[in-house]
């Protein structure tokens, strides 16, 4: 039996507990935000530098005439000029980004509805779950002839294909997320009295979030690719868009501007994928103590 002196049994117990707890504190302080940013950024900057150097070397080898394959020294200043002095590139970007945002939002809505329906109803799951994945193997460009027949040379035709490309990824991300919620968390939610809407709001959605964001990331890649294919095929003359510019620049054999447009398309894709979704994903994973992918 422990002695209960003036300080009492509890005070010793409390102190032991506090001691154990404090031993849990991490020894290593976290690196500053700037250092963390830099340690992630410099390898990427170096990779971009190397890619540009290889490009320059290929140009210097003169495998193709310089007016067909211009080097970075010709393309980058021209691109800078187009971005800062010329409104047409910005207008084209605006059209394309508006379409991408709208198509992605539509895919998000439809994907979430399908995903929820599939996880809710067993019969639906057996019927359509594999169909959704199957849909993803269809190259989006193969949908366009049908889309043009259905909707004509319109934005609807593009949206149709973008949604077909992106919605399955949204749905799959959600289905996968909900399917893999640890059972113990669902039970904890039930014991806490989270039923119906509360169950979705406080347990199911937050638990499925990491996988859902992964699905969004993939959906964005599909949407962006589908949209570019669409803009090359479905040319609406009154609306300047990035894909339209590519076509025109090829017809005019303006390789300097063409490669510039390609760089813009690449940058937009990467920015949304890595900077936006990548950061959200990393933050979610870090907060939950999951390994950073």
């Amino acid at each position: 039996m422990q002695a209960t002196d003036l300080f009492g049994h509890r005070s010793r117990q409390e102190r032991e507990l506090a001691g154990l707890d404090n031993l849990e504190l991490p020894l290593r302080p976290r690196k500053s935000a700037l250092r963390r940013f830099w340690s992630g950024a410099w390898p990427q900057l170096a990779a971009i530098g190397i890619a540009i150097a290889i490009w320059q070397i290929v140009v210097l080898l003169e495998l193709k005439p310089v007016w067909i394959l211009p080097g970075p020294l010709a393309v980058l200043p021209e691109l800078w000029h187009d971005l800062t002095r010329d409104t047409r590139l910005i207008e084209a970007m605006a059209t394309t980004l508006r379409r991408a945002a709208f198509g992605f939002a539509l895919a998000l809505l439809i994907g979430i509805l399908i995903g929820l329906a599939v996880t809710r109803f067993k019969l639906l799951r057996t019927a359509v779950a594999s169909l959704i994945t199957g849909l993803q193997t269809m190259p989006s460009i193969a949908w366009f002839p049908l889309a043009i027949l259905l909707f004509g040379i319109t934005e609807q035709a593009m949206m149709f294909v973008v949604v077909l490309g992106a919605a399955p990824s949204v749905a799959n991300g959600l289905i996968h997320g909900i399917d893999h919620i640890p059972r113990i968390l669902l039970r904890a939610g039930r014991v806490l009295g989270a039923h119906r809407l509360d169950k979705y709001r406080f347990v199911i959605f937050p638990a499925a979030l990491p996988s859902f964001v992964g699905g969004l990331k993939q959906a964005w890649a599909f949407a962006w690719r589908s949209l570019m294919a669409g803009e090359l095929l479905v040319i609406i003359a009154s609306q300047p868009a990035l894909g339209v510019r590519l076509q025109l620049q090829r017809e005019q054999v303006d390789a300097v501007a063409l490669i510039g447009t390609m760089l813009v398309i690449l940058s937009v894709g990467i920015t949304v994928d890595l900077v936006i979704f990548g950061n959200i994903e990393r933050r979610i994973r870090r907060r939950r103590g999951l390994g950073v992918a």
Partner: protein, 268 residues
């Protein structure tokens, strides 16, 4: 402010001293089988058990005695095929893993339980703070579960259970995955909370000494089907230690009883 004082403001309706006679948990003739009919495994058969209000009862049994099944039934996660059961007062279930939501901080986990229990927003923050104090985790509220040790996570889970306004704690091997020192301290901690707040505990464990250390009563379950084979009242004075010779002697007796039970399934 003493911990006891903090608790009194949190669960005011428990201030009245528990009377030994009122049952908090009544289980009569409960029967539960799994699997398709014919090939099913009988988990519980004709199980009868009463736990008085404010009592600390430990359930021990070998594998397959349906300990967890019984707790799931009492927590409303599962249904028996036959028999009746009733619980008086709110029930909280604690698992071997703390089962905290990893996307919330410790404080937010407690706050969510308060919210789902219908505590108005204006009171939640103060009560979360009080509950963190009760389990001695002040200053750790903004940490996420993965940043806490196993013992701290379990204490957060206890605070979450108290946030539900639970008067009955069902504990399913809650300290099973902790190191011995943390477990010993948490035994003291749980005993103190139980004494101060006067809730009822049904504590499942496979560790016989732990059962004797904590319980007013230890119920020994048979395996497949699970039934109460023996109930022992532990008259040893508290606080006890796992290493007390009296605890060891009683534990020895119960272990012997459990081994006989396992032999019954040897198949000869």
């Amino acid at each position: 402010m003493s911990a006891a004082h903090g608790l009194a403001t949190i669960t005011p309706r428990l201030e009245a001293a528990p009377s030994g006679a009122t049952p908090a948990i009544e289980v009569a003739g409960v029967h539960k089988a799994y699997g398709p009919s014919g090939s099913h495994v009988l988990a519980l058969s004709d199980l009868t058990l009463n736990v008085a209000k404010g009592e600390f009862v430990c359930l021990v049994g070998a594998s397959g005695c349906g300990k967890s099944t019984l707790l799931n039934i009492l927590a409303g996660l599962d249904r028996p095929q036959l028999g009746t059961f009733s619980t008086r007062g709110r029930v909280a279930l604690l698992f071997q893993e703390a089962a905290l939501f990893p996307w919330l901080t410790a404080a937010q986990n407690i706050e969510l339980a308060l919210r789902l229990a219908g505590v108005p927003r204006s009171e939640r923050q103060t009560r979360t703070h009080e509950l963190l104090h009760v389990v001695q985790l002040e200053g750790w509220g903004d940490k996420r579960p993965h940043e806490l040790s196993g013992g701290m996570r379990q204490r957060t889970a206890v605070a979450r259970a108290l946030a539900q306004g639970a008067e009955i704690l069902l504990m399913d091997e809650p300290f099973g995955s902790l190191d011995a020192m943390t477990r010993d301290i948490l035994h003291d901690e749980l005993e103190r909370l139980w004494k101060d707040a006067g809730f009822t505990v049904l504590f499942v464990t496979h560790d016989v000494r732990e059962a004797v250390r904590l319980g007013d009563r230890v119920a020994v379950l048979t395996s497949r089907p699970g039934q109460v084979a023996e109930e022992l009242t532990i008259d040893l004075p508290r606080p006890r230690l796992m290493s007390d010779p009296e605890v060891a002697t009683l534990a020895e007796r119960i272990t012997h009883r459990l081994r006989e039970e396992v032999l019954r399934h040897a198949g000869d």
